[in-house]
């Protein structure tokens, strides 16, 4: 069962905006407030929005849940491998900062001046953690949404669902 037509239309209208805003928070994690965890939670709430306005059948038809598992595992793997790359000095050493290459510029002081090419290993780690948190929280929400159908509300429905 879905919610009313008005709620569904508004959901379709603002769904992509939630995704873009979450990606903005993740990408600007080293310049403005936010970061991987917060941005991942915002993107995962887009999954919650879709699930609550539409139904589980529609979710399963439009998106694959294997993709969520892949995002979760891939994010964790990416995070640990980025940490391992700095093992020449220590684990989690920020070896690209101020080195001049990609992600290697020094940062000037200021608010959101758009220097995305800074931060060393921080932007890749932000993206990895964002991917992992998005996959993890979406999977929890999705499976709990499926589990909520296990117990129906009233007596007659429970007779139908007993199998």
């Amino acid at each position: 069962m879905r919610m009313s037509k008005i709620v569904r239309t508004i959901t379709a209208l603002i769904f992509w905006a939630v995704v873009v805003f979450g990606l903005y928070v993740v990408i600007h994690g080293h310049l403005t407030p936010g970061g991987g965890f917060q941005g991942g939670a915002v993107i995962a709430s887009s999954t919650a929005l879709f699930l609550v306005a539409f139904s589980k059948e529609e979710f399963l038809k439009k998106y694959k849940d294997a993709f969520l598992s892949l995002a979760e595992s891939g994010g964790l793997t990416l995070f640990i491998s980025t940490a391992f790359l700095g093992i020449g000095t220590t684990f989690f050493y920020n070896f690209i900062a101020n080195s001049g290459g990609i992600f290697g510029n020094p940062v000037p002081f200021g608010v959101n001046n758009g220097d995305l090419n800074t931060g060393g290993t921080l932007p890749p780690m932000n993206m990895a953690v964002g991917l992992e948190v998005f996959g993890g929280i979406s999977l929890i929400l999705f499976f709990m949404f499926l589990g909520a159908y296990l117990k129906p509300f009233n007596k007659e429905e429970s007779e139908v669902h007993k199998e």
């Binding site: 936010g34 709430s45 929400l141 909520a148 117990k151």
Partner: protein, 80 residues
Amino acid sequence: MGMEYWAHFFTLIVLVIGAYLAVFLRNLLASVIALSAMSLALSLEFYLLHAPDVAIAEAGIGAGLTTAIFIFALRGVRRD
């Protein structure tokens, strides 16, 4: 400076009222609503204390997704 004190004051009062209601209401759905209000006030308090990172995390996790997960749990125990 004096005004900021009153902003903290009323935000903390909302926080305490929300926490009290979340514990002592008999209706579980009303309890979840009070918890959501408390989380909102906590987010505003972090905002007023100049901690925007924590405020975003609290707004995303505490107010949006925790409510959803509690609603699923309520649906599981079928008591409202």
